[in-house]
Symmetry: C2
Subunit: 328 residues, 2 copies
Protein backbone atom coordinates (compact mmCIF):
# COMPACT_ATOMS: atom_id res chain seq x y z
CA UNK A 1 0.00 0.00 0.00
CA UNK A 2 1.08 3.56 -0.71
CA UNK A 3 3.56 4.77 1.89
CA UNK A 4 1.93 8.20 2.31
CA UNK A 5 -1.53 6.71 2.64
CA UNK A 6 -0.32 4.25 5.28
CA UNK A 7 1.47 6.95 7.29
CA UNK A 8 -0.40 10.26 7.02
CA UNK A 9 -3.75 10.14 8.79
CA UNK A 10 -5.02 13.70 8.37
CA UNK A 11 -4.07 17.29 7.67
CA UNK A 12 -5.22 20.34 9.55
CA UNK A 13 -4.72 24.04 8.81
CA UNK A 14 -5.71 26.69 11.29
CA UNK A 15 -5.67 30.47 10.94
CA UNK A 16 -5.90 32.82 13.94
CA UNK A 17 -7.66 36.12 13.34
CA UNK A 18 -8.68 38.99 15.61
CA UNK A 19 -10.99 41.91 15.07
CA UNK A 20 -9.59 45.42 15.16
CA UNK A 21 -10.58 47.46 18.24
CA UNK A 22 -12.19 44.57 20.13
CA UNK A 23 -10.39 43.31 23.29
CA UNK A 24 -8.85 39.81 23.05
CA UNK A 25 -11.28 37.15 24.32
CA UNK A 26 -9.63 36.87 27.76
CA UNK A 27 -10.44 40.56 28.29
CA UNK A 28 -13.96 40.48 26.89
CA UNK A 29 -17.00 40.93 29.15
CA UNK A 30 -20.38 41.38 27.58
CA UNK A 31 -19.33 43.92 24.91
CA UNK A 32 -21.82 44.45 22.16
CA UNK A 33 -19.00 43.66 19.71
CA UNK A 34 -19.33 40.01 20.63
CA UNK A 35 -22.78 39.70 19.13
CA UNK A 36 -21.96 41.87 16.16
CA UNK A 37 -18.98 39.69 15.32
CA UNK A 38 -20.97 36.49 15.80
CA UNK A 39 -23.62 37.74 13.37
CA UNK A 40 -21.03 38.67 10.75
CA UNK A 41 -19.22 35.35 11.00
CA UNK A 42 -22.51 33.50 10.73
CA UNK A 43 -23.41 35.45 7.61
CA UNK A 44 -20.05 34.63 6.01
CA UNK A 45 -20.19 30.95 6.92
CA UNK A 46 -23.79 30.53 5.80
CA UNK A 47 -22.88 31.95 2.42
CA UNK A 48 -19.96 29.52 2.04
CA UNK A 49 -21.04 26.12 3.44
CA UNK A 50 -23.97 24.40 5.17
CA UNK A 51 -23.16 24.56 8.88
CA UNK A 52 -24.44 24.46 12.39
CA UNK A 53 -23.47 26.76 15.26
CA UNK A 54 -22.38 24.97 18.45
CA UNK A 55 -22.59 27.29 21.45
CA UNK A 56 -20.36 26.00 24.24
CA UNK A 57 -22.39 27.46 27.11
CA UNK A 58 -25.15 25.01 28.03
CA UNK A 59 -23.92 22.19 25.80
CA UNK A 60 -23.88 18.66 27.25
CA UNK A 61 -20.41 17.87 28.52
CA UNK A 62 -20.07 14.74 26.37
CA UNK A 63 -21.15 16.65 23.28
CA UNK A 64 -18.50 19.35 23.64
CA UNK A 65 -15.99 16.65 24.62
CA UNK A 66 -16.83 14.69 21.48
CA UNK A 67 -16.16 17.83 19.40
CA UNK A 68 -12.73 18.00 21.04
CA UNK A 69 -12.14 14.33 20.23
CA UNK A 70 -12.98 15.04 16.59
CA UNK A 71 -10.59 18.05 16.71
CA UNK A 72 -13.47 20.33 15.69
CA UNK A 73 -13.04 22.54 18.74
CA UNK A 74 -10.11 23.03 21.09
CA UNK A 75 -9.87 22.31 24.82
CA UNK A 76 -9.45 26.03 25.19
CA UNK A 77 -12.75 26.84 23.50
CA UNK A 78 -14.50 24.27 25.69
CA UNK A 79 -13.76 26.49 28.70
CA UNK A 80 -14.72 29.80 27.11
CA UNK A 81 -17.73 31.81 28.23
CA UNK A 82 -18.87 33.28 24.91
CA UNK A 83 -17.29 30.65 22.73
CA UNK A 84 -18.79 28.54 20.00
CA UNK A 85 -18.02 27.12 16.60
CA UNK A 86 -19.59 27.12 13.17
CA UNK A 87 -19.01 23.58 11.96
CA UNK A 88 -19.66 22.43 8.42
CA UNK A 89 -22.04 19.51 7.90
CA UNK A 90 -19.22 17.35 6.57
CA UNK A 91 -17.11 18.36 9.59
CA UNK A 92 -14.15 19.40 7.50
CA UNK A 93 -14.45 23.08 8.48
CA UNK A 94 -14.77 24.68 11.89
CA UNK A 95 -14.75 28.39 12.62
CA UNK A 96 -14.26 28.89 16.34
CA UNK A 97 -15.27 32.18 17.86
CA UNK A 98 -13.85 33.54 21.11
CA UNK A 99 -11.25 30.88 21.63
CA UNK A 100 -7.84 32.35 22.57
CA UNK A 101 -8.32 34.61 19.52
CA UNK A 102 -11.57 36.05 18.24
CA UNK A 103 -11.52 33.67 15.33
CA UNK A 104 -9.86 30.39 14.62
CA UNK A 105 -10.59 29.20 11.11
CA UNK A 106 -9.78 25.56 10.69
CA UNK A 107 -9.98 22.93 8.00
CA UNK A 108 -9.31 19.26 8.71
CA UNK A 109 -9.02 16.69 5.93
CA UNK A 110 -8.19 13.02 5.60
CA UNK A 111 -4.77 12.04 4.35
CA UNK A 112 -2.00 14.37 3.20
CA UNK A 113 -3.99 17.33 1.93
CA UNK A 114 -2.17 20.58 2.64
CA UNK A 115 -3.27 22.52 -0.44
CA UNK A 116 -6.96 21.69 -0.17
CA UNK A 117 -7.03 22.36 3.54
CA UNK A 118 -5.25 25.67 3.02
CA UNK A 119 -7.54 26.72 0.19
CA UNK A 120 -10.57 26.04 2.37
CA UNK A 121 -9.42 28.28 5.21
CA UNK A 122 -8.05 30.96 2.87
CA UNK A 123 -11.42 31.24 1.17
CA UNK A 124 -13.24 31.76 4.45
CA UNK A 125 -10.58 34.22 5.57
CA UNK A 126 -10.92 36.36 2.45
CA UNK A 127 -14.73 36.31 2.57
CA UNK A 128 -14.66 37.28 6.27
CA UNK A 129 -12.44 40.24 5.56
CA UNK A 130 -15.23 41.71 3.43
CA UNK A 131 -17.41 41.99 6.55
CA UNK A 132 -14.91 42.29 9.40
CA UNK A 133 -11.86 44.48 9.87
CA UNK A 134 -9.01 42.21 10.96
CA UNK A 135 -6.16 43.34 13.24
CA UNK A 136 -3.01 43.37 11.08
CA UNK A 137 0.36 45.06 11.48
CA UNK A 138 2.67 45.63 8.52
CA UNK A 139 5.68 44.47 10.53
CA UNK A 140 4.23 41.81 12.83
CA UNK A 141 1.59 40.40 10.50
CA UNK A 142 -1.72 39.23 11.96
CA UNK A 143 -2.02 40.23 15.59
CA UNK A 144 -2.82 37.39 17.97
CA UNK A 145 -3.48 36.96 21.69
CA UNK A 146 -0.34 34.86 22.07
CA UNK A 147 2.83 36.29 20.47
CA UNK A 148 3.91 32.83 19.22
CA UNK A 149 1.10 33.00 16.69
CA UNK A 150 2.01 36.38 15.21
CA UNK A 151 2.85 36.64 11.52
CA UNK A 152 0.95 34.39 9.15
CA UNK A 153 -0.89 33.25 12.29
CA UNK A 154 -1.17 29.90 10.62
CA UNK A 155 -0.58 26.46 12.03
CA UNK A 156 -0.37 23.48 9.75
CA UNK A 157 -0.59 20.12 11.52
CA UNK A 158 -0.26 16.66 10.06
CA UNK A 159 -1.25 13.55 11.97
CA UNK A 160 1.16 10.69 11.43
CA UNK A 161 1.08 6.97 12.18
CA UNK A 162 4.63 6.02 13.16
CA UNK A 163 4.73 2.45 14.54
CA UNK A 164 8.05 1.62 12.87
CA UNK A 165 9.99 4.54 14.34
CA UNK A 166 8.33 4.06 17.72
CA UNK A 167 8.98 0.32 17.96
CA UNK A 168 12.58 0.72 16.86
CA UNK A 169 13.08 3.41 19.54
CA UNK A 170 13.97 6.08 16.97
CA UNK A 171 11.09 8.45 17.59
CA UNK A 172 12.81 10.61 20.22
CA UNK A 173 15.65 11.38 17.82
CA UNK A 174 13.15 12.32 15.13
CA UNK A 175 11.32 14.60 17.54
CA UNK A 176 14.54 16.41 18.46
CA UNK A 177 15.76 16.67 14.90
CA UNK A 178 12.57 18.32 13.67
CA UNK A 179 12.32 20.51 16.74
CA UNK A 180 15.63 22.06 15.67
CA UNK A 181 14.06 22.68 12.27
CA UNK A 182 11.18 24.66 13.78
CA UNK A 183 8.66 21.84 14.02
CA UNK A 184 6.82 20.39 17.01
CA UNK A 185 6.10 16.66 17.09
CA UNK A 186 4.02 15.28 19.91
CA UNK A 187 2.32 12.01 20.71
CA UNK A 188 -1.45 11.94 20.55
CA UNK A 189 -3.51 10.25 23.26
CA UNK A 190 -0.44 9.50 25.35
CA UNK A 191 1.88 11.01 27.91
CA UNK A 192 4.93 13.00 26.80
CA UNK A 193 6.23 11.69 23.51
CA UNK A 194 4.79 8.21 24.18
CA UNK A 195 1.92 7.97 21.74
CA UNK A 196 -0.73 5.38 22.42
CA UNK A 197 -1.53 4.00 19.01
CA UNK A 198 1.75 5.34 17.54
CA UNK A 199 -0.03 8.53 16.45
CA UNK A 200 1.96 11.78 16.39
CA UNK A 201 1.20 15.28 15.27
CA UNK A 202 3.77 17.43 13.51
CA UNK A 203 3.16 21.17 13.23
CA UNK A 204 5.06 24.39 12.65
CA UNK A 205 6.21 26.08 15.86
CA UNK A 206 5.86 29.70 14.72
CA UNK A 207 4.68 31.60 11.70
CA UNK A 208 6.31 34.99 12.22
CA UNK A 209 8.28 36.25 9.22
CA UNK A 210 7.07 33.29 7.17
CA UNK A 211 4.53 33.33 4.37
CA UNK A 212 1.76 30.78 4.19
CA UNK A 213 3.45 29.14 1.19
CA UNK A 214 6.75 28.89 3.03
CA UNK A 215 5.06 27.17 5.97
CA UNK A 216 3.24 24.73 3.69
CA UNK A 217 6.38 23.89 1.72
CA UNK A 218 8.39 23.37 4.87
CA UNK A 219 5.90 21.01 6.45
CA UNK A 220 5.38 19.18 3.17
CA UNK A 221 9.10 18.54 2.84
CA UNK A 222 9.49 17.40 6.45
CA UNK A 223 6.47 15.12 6.38
CA UNK A 224 7.84 13.44 3.25
CA UNK A 225 11.14 12.89 5.06
CA UNK A 226 9.40 11.34 8.05
CA UNK A 227 7.31 9.13 5.76
CA UNK A 228 10.54 7.82 4.24
CA UNK A 229 12.14 7.21 7.67
CA UNK A 230 9.00 5.40 8.79
CA UNK A 231 8.87 3.26 5.64
CA UNK A 232 12.47 2.16 6.24
CA UNK A 233 11.77 1.48 9.90
CA UNK A 234 8.80 -0.74 9.02
CA UNK A 235 10.89 -2.75 6.60
CA UNK A 236 13.56 -3.24 9.27
CA UNK A 237 10.92 -4.25 11.78
CA UNK A 238 9.39 -6.73 9.35
CA UNK A 239 12.67 -8.38 8.44
CA UNK A 240 13.95 -8.56 12.03
CA UNK A 241 10.74 -9.71 13.73
CA UNK A 242 9.05 -11.66 10.94
CA UNK A 243 6.51 -14.11 12.22
CA UNK A 244 6.58 -12.73 15.78
CA UNK A 245 5.42 -9.37 14.49
CA UNK A 246 2.85 -10.99 12.21
CA UNK A 247 1.60 -13.07 15.12
CA UNK A 248 1.13 -10.01 17.35
CA UNK A 249 -0.73 -8.29 14.53
CA UNK A 250 -3.01 -11.23 13.81
CA UNK A 251 -3.80 -11.69 17.49
CA UNK A 252 -4.72 -8.00 17.71
CA UNK A 253 -6.98 -8.52 14.71
CA UNK A 254 -8.62 -11.50 16.42
CA UNK A 255 -9.14 -9.44 19.58
CA UNK A 256 -10.69 -6.50 17.73
CA UNK A 257 -12.99 -8.91 15.93
CA UNK A 258 -14.12 -10.93 18.93
CA UNK A 259 -13.66 -9.01 22.19
CA UNK A 260 -16.90 -8.19 24.01
CA UNK A 261 -15.46 -5.15 25.78
CA UNK A 262 -12.35 -3.05 25.38
CA UNK A 263 -10.86 -0.16 27.30
CA UNK A 264 -9.71 2.79 25.24
CA UNK A 265 -6.09 1.80 25.80
CA UNK A 266 -6.52 -1.86 24.80
CA UNK A 267 -8.48 -0.77 21.78
CA UNK A 268 -5.89 1.79 20.63
CA UNK A 269 -3.06 -0.69 21.04
CA UNK A 270 -4.81 -3.41 19.07
CA UNK A 271 -6.01 -0.99 16.41
CA UNK A 272 -2.47 0.35 15.98
CA UNK A 273 -1.19 -3.19 15.63
CA UNK A 274 -3.82 -3.97 12.98
CA UNK A 275 -3.01 -0.73 11.11
CA UNK A 276 0.65 -1.74 11.09
CA UNK A 277 -0.52 -5.09 9.69
CA UNK A 278 -2.29 -3.31 6.84
CA UNK A 279 0.78 -1.16 6.17
CA UNK A 280 3.00 -4.26 6.04
CA UNK A 281 0.62 -6.19 3.82
CA UNK A 282 -0.35 -8.82 6.42
CA UNK A 283 -3.96 -7.65 6.42
CA UNK A 284 -6.14 -6.21 3.71
CA UNK A 285 -8.38 -3.64 5.37
CA UNK A 286 -9.45 -0.07 4.62
CA UNK A 287 -6.97 2.22 6.38
CA UNK A 288 -9.36 5.21 6.34
CA UNK A 289 -12.00 3.12 8.06
CA UNK A 290 -9.47 2.07 10.71
CA UNK A 291 -8.42 5.68 11.24
CA UNK A 292 -12.02 6.76 11.63
CA UNK A 293 -12.47 3.98 14.20
CA UNK A 294 -9.97 5.63 16.53
CA UNK A 295 -12.16 8.74 16.55
CA UNK A 296 -15.49 6.92 16.81
CA UNK A 297 -14.39 4.86 19.81
CA UNK A 298 -13.21 7.73 22.00
CA UNK A 299 -15.08 8.00 25.30
CA UNK A 300 -17.22 11.07 24.61
CA UNK A 301 -17.84 10.04 21.00
CA UNK A 302 -19.42 6.83 22.27
CA UNK A 303 -21.76 8.83 24.52
CA UNK A 304 -22.46 11.23 21.66
CA UNK A 305 -23.39 8.33 19.35
CA UNK A 306 -25.72 6.89 22.01
CA UNK A 307 -26.97 10.39 22.88
CA UNK A 308 -26.44 9.84 26.60
CA UNK A 309 -23.83 9.54 29.32
CA UNK A 310 -22.39 6.01 29.52
CA UNK A 311 -20.56 4.29 32.36
CA UNK A 312 -16.98 3.17 31.62
CA UNK A 313 -18.23 -0.46 31.40
CA UNK A 314 -20.97 0.53 28.94
CA UNK A 315 -18.44 2.42 26.86
CA UNK A 316 -16.08 -0.57 26.80
CA UNK A 317 -18.88 -2.82 25.55
CA UNK A 318 -20.08 -0.34 22.95
CA UNK A 319 -16.50 0.26 21.78
CA UNK A 320 -16.11 -3.49 21.17
CA UNK A 321 -19.41 -3.57 19.26
CA UNK A 322 -18.34 -0.76 16.97
CA UNK A 323 -14.94 -2.34 16.40
CA UNK A 324 -16.59 -5.67 15.53
CA UNK A 325 -19.04 -4.09 13.10
CA UNK A 326 -16.39 -2.04 11.32
CA UNK A 327 -13.57 -4.62 11.28
CA UNK A 328 -15.91 -7.20 9.77
Amino acid sequence: MDKIQSTVISTRIRLARNVKNLPFPNRLSGEEGIYTLLAKVQKTCDALFPNKYYKIDGMDRYESESLVERHLISRNLQKSKYGGAFISESEDISVMVFEEDHLRIQSIMRGFNLENAYNAVAKIDSELKKNVEIAFDQKLGYLTACPTNLGAAMRASVMLFLPGLTKLGLIDNIIMKFQDLGMTIRGIYGEGSKAEGYVYQISNQASISLSETEILNKIKKYVMQIVDYETDAREKLKSSLGIDLQNDIMISYGILKYACKMSSQEFNQNLASVKLGVALGYLNLDMDKLNSLSVLTQPAMLCFLKKKELTPQQRDIYRAEIAKSMIG
Copy 2:
Protein backbone atom coordinates in the same frame (compact mmCIF):
# COMPACT_ATOMS: atom_id res chain seq x y z
CA MET B 1 -25.42 -28.45 25.12
CA ASP B 2 -25.69 -31.77 26.93
CA LYS B 3 -23.88 -31.64 30.26
CA ILE B 4 -22.23 -35.06 29.86
CA GLN B 5 -21.09 -34.30 26.34
CA SER B 6 -19.60 -31.00 27.44
CA THR B 7 -17.76 -32.55 30.40
CA VAL B 8 -16.70 -36.11 29.55
CA ILE B 9 -13.99 -36.19 26.91
CA SER B 10 -13.22 -39.91 26.67
CA THR B 11 -13.43 -43.25 28.40
CA ARG B 12 -10.68 -45.82 28.70
CA ILE B 13 -10.75 -49.37 30.07
CA ARG B 14 -7.58 -51.34 30.59
CA LEU B 15 -7.14 -54.95 31.64
CA ALA B 16 -3.82 -56.29 32.91
CA ARG B 17 -3.07 -59.96 32.09
CA ASN B 18 -0.07 -62.20 32.62
CA VAL B 19 0.81 -65.56 31.19
CA LYS B 20 1.16 -68.50 33.53
CA ASN B 21 4.76 -69.73 34.05
CA LEU B 22 6.41 -66.82 32.22
CA PRO B 23 8.44 -64.35 34.34
CA PHE B 24 7.00 -60.86 34.66
CA PRO B 25 8.41 -58.49 31.98
CA ASN B 26 10.99 -56.91 34.31
CA ARG B 27 12.50 -60.38 34.81
CA LEU B 28 12.35 -61.45 31.17
CA SER B 29 15.54 -61.88 29.13
CA GLY B 30 15.30 -63.46 25.72
CA GLU B 31 13.06 -66.39 26.72
CA GLU B 32 11.43 -68.19 23.87
CA GLY B 33 8.10 -67.55 25.58
CA ILE B 34 8.28 -63.94 24.46
CA TYR B 35 7.98 -64.84 20.80
CA THR B 36 5.44 -67.57 21.39
CA LEU B 37 3.22 -65.11 23.27
CA LEU B 38 3.65 -62.42 20.63
CA ALA B 39 2.54 -64.85 17.92
CA LYS B 40 -0.50 -65.95 19.89
CA VAL B 41 -1.59 -62.38 20.64
CA GLN B 42 -1.13 -61.45 17.02
CA LYS B 43 -3.29 -64.35 15.93
CA THR B 44 -6.05 -63.33 18.35
CA CYS B 45 -5.93 -59.65 17.39
CA ASP B 46 -5.84 -60.37 13.65
CA ALA B 47 -8.97 -62.47 14.01
CA LEU B 48 -10.80 -59.70 15.86
CA PHE B 49 -9.87 -56.35 14.26
CA PRO B 50 -7.67 -54.82 11.54
CA ASN B 51 -4.48 -53.77 13.29
CA LYS B 52 -0.84 -52.93 13.01
CA TYR B 53 1.96 -54.03 15.34
CA TYR B 54 4.15 -51.22 16.65
CA LYS B 55 7.47 -52.56 17.93
CA ILE B 56 9.03 -50.08 20.34
CA ASP B 57 12.64 -51.04 19.66
CA GLY B 58 13.91 -49.06 16.65
CA MET B 59 10.84 -46.84 16.37
CA ASP B 60 11.42 -43.11 15.77
CA ARG B 61 11.29 -41.26 19.06
CA TYR B 62 8.55 -38.89 17.88
CA GLU B 63 6.46 -41.79 16.62
CA SER B 64 6.47 -43.63 19.95
CA GLU B 65 5.97 -40.31 21.74
CA SER B 66 2.95 -39.56 19.55
CA LEU B 67 1.48 -42.94 20.54
CA VAL B 68 1.88 -41.90 24.18
CA GLU B 69 0.19 -38.59 23.43
CA ARG B 70 -2.73 -40.46 21.91
CA HIS B 71 -2.81 -42.74 25.02
CA LEU B 72 -2.30 -45.76 22.76
CA ILE B 73 0.80 -46.86 24.61
CA SER B 74 2.11 -46.00 28.08
CA ARG B 75 5.32 -44.20 29.07
CA ASN B 76 6.29 -47.50 30.64
CA LEU B 77 6.00 -49.44 27.40
CA GLN B 78 8.05 -46.81 25.60
CA LYS B 79 11.04 -47.84 27.75
CA SER B 80 10.60 -51.60 27.42
CA LYS B 81 13.03 -53.80 25.54
CA TYR B 82 10.67 -56.35 24.05
CA GLY B 83 7.58 -54.18 24.13
CA GLY B 84 5.15 -53.33 21.42
CA ALA B 85 1.47 -52.82 20.79
CA PHE B 86 -1.19 -54.15 18.44
CA ILE B 87 -3.23 -51.07 17.63
CA SER B 88 -6.51 -51.15 15.76
CA GLU B 89 -6.80 -49.08 12.59
CA SER B 90 -9.42 -46.85 14.19
CA GLU B 91 -7.11 -46.49 17.22
CA ASP B 92 -9.81 -47.42 19.70
CA ILE B 93 -8.04 -50.63 20.75
CA SER B 94 -4.47 -51.21 21.83
CA VAL B 95 -3.02 -54.46 23.13
CA MET B 96 0.35 -53.74 24.70
CA VAL B 97 2.77 -56.59 25.15
CA PHE B 98 5.57 -56.64 27.74
CA GLU B 99 4.63 -53.45 29.45
CA GLU B 100 4.69 -53.81 33.28
CA ASP B 101 2.51 -56.90 32.70
CA HIS B 102 2.70 -59.30 29.81
CA LEU B 103 -0.49 -57.93 28.38
CA ARG B 104 -2.38 -54.70 28.75
CA ILE B 105 -5.63 -54.75 26.79
CA GLN B 106 -7.05 -51.30 26.35
CA SER B 107 -9.99 -49.69 24.70
CA ILE B 108 -10.34 -45.91 24.43
CA MET B 109 -13.52 -44.26 23.21
CA ARG B 110 -14.86 -40.77 22.82
CA GLY B 111 -17.35 -39.47 25.36
CA PHE B 112 -18.84 -41.40 28.28
CA ASN B 113 -18.72 -44.93 26.97
CA LEU B 114 -17.99 -47.37 29.79
CA GLU B 115 -20.06 -50.30 28.52
CA ASN B 116 -18.78 -50.24 24.96
CA ALA B 117 -15.19 -49.81 26.07
CA TYR B 118 -15.56 -52.68 28.53
CA ASN B 119 -17.20 -54.95 25.98
CA ALA B 120 -14.34 -54.34 23.58
CA VAL B 121 -11.63 -55.37 26.05
CA ALA B 122 -13.68 -58.24 27.46
CA LYS B 123 -14.08 -59.73 24.01
CA ILE B 124 -10.32 -59.63 23.35
CA ASP B 125 -9.67 -61.05 26.81
CA SER B 126 -11.98 -64.03 26.30
CA GLU B 127 -10.60 -64.77 22.83
CA LEU B 128 -7.03 -64.56 24.13
CA LYS B 129 -7.80 -67.05 26.86
CA LYS B 130 -8.52 -69.64 24.18
CA ASN B 131 -4.88 -69.45 23.07
CA VAL B 132 -3.04 -68.36 26.20
CA GLU B 133 -3.14 -69.65 29.78
CA ILE B 134 -3.58 -66.60 32.02
CA ALA B 135 -2.20 -66.39 35.58
CA PHE B 136 -5.19 -66.38 37.91
CA ASP B 137 -5.57 -67.08 41.59
CA GLN B 138 -8.93 -68.02 43.14
CA LYS B 139 -8.34 -65.72 46.08
CA LEU B 140 -6.31 -62.85 44.56
CA GLY B 141 -7.88 -62.80 41.13
CA TYR B 142 -5.69 -61.99 38.11
CA LEU B 143 -2.03 -61.94 39.08
CA THR B 144 -0.17 -58.77 38.14
CA ALA B 145 3.39 -57.42 38.40
CA CYS B 146 2.25 -54.70 40.77
CA PRO B 147 0.02 -55.79 43.67
CA THR B 148 -2.21 -52.70 43.31
CA ASN B 149 -3.55 -54.20 40.10
CA LEU B 150 -4.52 -57.59 41.56
CA GLY B 151 -8.14 -58.74 41.44
CA ALA B 152 -10.15 -57.71 38.40
CA ALA B 153 -6.89 -56.12 37.22
CA MET B 154 -9.04 -53.56 35.52
CA ARG B 155 -8.65 -49.83 35.43
CA ALA B 156 -11.45 -47.65 34.14
CA SER B 157 -10.46 -44.06 33.44
CA VAL B 158 -12.62 -41.19 32.37
CA MET B 159 -11.17 -37.95 31.04
CA LEU B 160 -13.07 -34.91 32.28
CA PHE B 161 -13.13 -31.24 31.32
CA LEU B 162 -13.60 -29.31 34.57
CA PRO B 163 -13.12 -25.58 34.00
CA GLY B 164 -15.91 -24.58 36.38
CA LEU B 165 -14.59 -26.47 39.39
CA THR B 166 -11.03 -25.39 38.61
CA LYS B 167 -11.81 -21.68 38.19
CA LEU B 168 -13.93 -21.62 41.34
CA GLY B 169 -11.07 -23.24 43.28
CA LEU B 170 -13.16 -26.28 44.19
CA ILE B 171 -11.15 -28.93 42.39
CA ASP B 172 -8.84 -29.82 45.30
CA ASN B 173 -11.84 -30.62 47.50
CA ILE B 174 -13.28 -32.79 44.76
CA ILE B 175 -9.98 -34.62 44.36
CA MET B 176 -9.83 -35.35 48.10
CA LYS B 177 -13.45 -36.37 48.35
CA PHE B 178 -13.19 -38.96 45.59
CA GLN B 179 -9.83 -40.16 46.79
CA ASP B 180 -11.58 -41.21 49.99
CA LEU B 181 -14.06 -43.10 47.84
CA GLY B 182 -11.29 -45.11 46.17
CA MET B 183 -10.84 -42.96 43.11
CA THR B 184 -7.79 -41.13 41.79
CA ILE B 185 -8.25 -37.80 40.07
CA ARG B 186 -5.25 -36.14 38.50
CA GLY B 187 -4.63 -33.21 36.19
CA ILE B 188 -3.53 -33.99 32.68
CA TYR B 189 -0.69 -32.07 31.00
CA GLY B 190 0.04 -30.06 34.14
CA GLU B 191 1.90 -30.18 37.42
CA GLY B 192 0.29 -31.71 40.50
CA SER B 193 -3.44 -31.23 40.46
CA LYS B 194 -3.09 -28.09 38.27
CA ALA B 195 -4.39 -29.22 34.92
CA GLU B 196 -3.43 -27.17 31.91
CA GLY B 197 -6.59 -27.04 29.86
CA TYR B 198 -8.74 -28.04 32.88
CA VAL B 199 -8.50 -31.71 31.89
CA TYR B 200 -8.53 -34.33 34.65
CA GLN B 201 -8.58 -38.09 34.67
CA ILE B 202 -10.61 -40.04 37.19
CA SER B 203 -9.88 -43.73 37.64
CA ASN B 204 -10.38 -46.50 40.19
CA GLN B 205 -7.44 -46.91 42.57
CA ALA B 206 -7.62 -50.70 43.00
CA SER B 207 -9.61 -53.58 41.69
CA ILE B 208 -8.96 -56.24 44.32
CA SER B 209 -12.11 -57.86 45.72
CA LEU B 210 -14.20 -55.93 43.21
CA SER B 211 -15.94 -57.35 40.16
CA GLU B 212 -15.72 -55.61 36.78
CA THR B 213 -19.38 -54.61 37.08
CA GLU B 214 -18.83 -53.11 40.52
CA ILE B 215 -15.94 -51.01 39.23
CA LEU B 216 -17.95 -49.81 36.25
CA ASN B 217 -20.98 -48.94 38.38
CA LYS B 218 -18.86 -47.11 40.89
CA ILE B 219 -17.07 -44.96 38.34
CA LYS B 220 -20.29 -44.33 36.46
CA LYS B 221 -21.96 -43.02 39.61
CA TYR B 222 -19.01 -40.84 40.59
CA VAL B 223 -18.54 -39.37 37.13
CA MET B 224 -22.22 -38.42 37.07
CA GLN B 225 -21.77 -36.68 40.43
CA ILE B 226 -18.77 -34.74 39.17
CA VAL B 227 -20.64 -33.79 36.00
CA ASP B 228 -23.38 -32.31 38.19
CA TYR B 229 -20.89 -30.43 40.38
CA GLU B 230 -19.19 -29.08 37.27
CA THR B 231 -22.49 -28.01 35.71
CA ASP B 232 -23.36 -26.05 38.86
CA ALA B 233 -19.90 -24.50 38.97
CA ARG B 234 -20.20 -23.32 35.37
CA GLU B 235 -23.54 -21.68 36.05
CA LYS B 236 -22.07 -19.91 39.07
CA LEU B 237 -19.10 -18.79 37.01
CA LYS B 238 -21.35 -17.51 34.24
CA SER B 239 -23.61 -15.53 36.54
CA SER B 240 -20.79 -14.06 38.61
CA LEU B 241 -18.40 -13.17 35.78
CA GLY B 242 -20.82 -12.53 32.93
CA ILE B 243 -19.32 -10.43 30.21
CA ASP B 244 -15.78 -10.65 31.61
CA LEU B 245 -15.87 -14.41 31.18
CA GLN B 246 -17.46 -14.13 27.75
CA ASN B 247 -14.82 -11.60 26.75
CA ASP B 248 -11.95 -13.90 27.80
CA ILE B 249 -13.58 -16.72 25.84
CA MET B 250 -14.11 -14.68 22.69
CA ILE B 251 -10.55 -13.35 22.81
CA SER B 252 -9.28 -16.91 23.08
CA TYR B 253 -11.39 -17.78 20.07
CA GLY B 254 -9.91 -14.86 18.15
CA ILE B 255 -6.40 -15.96 19.09
CA LEU B 256 -6.98 -19.58 18.03
CA LYS B 257 -8.37 -18.34 14.73
CA TYR B 258 -5.68 -15.82 13.89
CA ALA B 259 -2.43 -16.58 15.74
CA CYS B 260 0.50 -17.51 13.47
CA LYS B 261 2.29 -19.52 16.16
CA MET B 262 1.33 -20.94 19.53
CA SER B 263 3.21 -22.75 22.25
CA SER B 264 1.57 -25.85 23.63
CA GLN B 265 0.69 -23.98 26.82
CA GLU B 266 -0.86 -20.97 25.08
CA PHE B 267 -2.76 -23.29 22.83
CA ASN B 268 -4.13 -25.44 25.63
CA GLN B 269 -5.21 -22.41 27.64
CA ASN B 270 -7.01 -20.82 24.71
CA LEU B 271 -8.56 -24.11 23.62
CA ALA B 272 -9.84 -24.72 27.14
CA SER B 273 -11.34 -21.25 27.19
CA VAL B 274 -13.07 -21.86 23.86
CA LYS B 275 -14.37 -25.24 25.05
CA LEU B 276 -15.81 -23.52 28.11
CA GLY B 277 -17.42 -21.06 25.71
CA VAL B 278 -19.08 -23.91 23.84
CA ALA B 279 -20.25 -25.46 27.11
CA LEU B 280 -21.75 -22.13 28.22
CA GLY B 281 -23.42 -21.49 24.87
CA TYR B 282 -21.27 -18.49 23.91
CA LEU B 283 -19.83 -20.36 20.94
CA ASN B 284 -21.30 -22.94 18.63
CA LEU B 285 -18.49 -25.34 17.75
CA ASP B 286 -18.08 -29.11 17.60
CA MET B 287 -16.80 -30.22 21.03
CA ASP B 288 -15.42 -33.52 19.68
CA LYS B 289 -13.40 -31.64 17.10
CA LEU B 290 -12.02 -29.34 19.81
CA ASN B 291 -11.13 -32.33 21.98
CA SER B 292 -9.34 -34.00 19.08
CA LEU B 293 -7.41 -30.76 18.53
CA SER B 294 -5.76 -31.09 21.92
CA VAL B 295 -4.36 -34.45 20.83
CA LEU B 296 -3.39 -33.39 17.30
CA THR B 297 -1.44 -30.37 18.49
CA GLN B 298 0.79 -32.15 20.99
CA PRO B 299 4.49 -31.85 20.22
CA ALA B 300 5.20 -35.37 18.98
CA MET B 301 1.87 -35.61 17.15
CA LEU B 302 2.88 -32.58 15.10
CA CYS B 303 6.15 -34.28 14.12
CA PHE B 304 4.26 -37.50 13.43
CA LEU B 305 1.83 -35.68 11.13
CA LYS B 306 4.74 -34.06 9.26
CA LYS B 307 6.68 -37.35 9.35
CA LYS B 308 9.83 -35.64 10.67
CA GLU B 309 11.39 -33.99 13.69
CA LEU B 310 10.36 -30.34 14.02
CA THR B 311 12.02 -27.51 15.93
CA PRO B 312 9.92 -25.90 18.70
CA GLN B 313 9.36 -22.86 16.45
CA GLN B 314 8.21 -25.07 13.55
CA ARG B 315 5.86 -26.89 15.91
CA ASP B 316 4.40 -23.62 17.18
CA ILE B 317 3.71 -22.48 13.62
CA TYR B 318 2.22 -25.81 12.56
CA ARG B 319 0.10 -25.93 15.72
CA ALA B 320 -1.38 -22.54 14.83
CA GLU B 321 -2.06 -23.72 11.27
CA ILE B 322 -3.93 -26.78 12.48
CA ALA B 323 -5.91 -24.74 14.98
CA LYS B 324 -6.87 -22.24 12.29
CA SER B 325 -7.97 -24.94 9.85
CA MET B 326 -10.04 -26.80 12.42
CA ILE B 327 -11.56 -23.81 14.23
CA GLY B 328 -12.72 -22.34 10.91
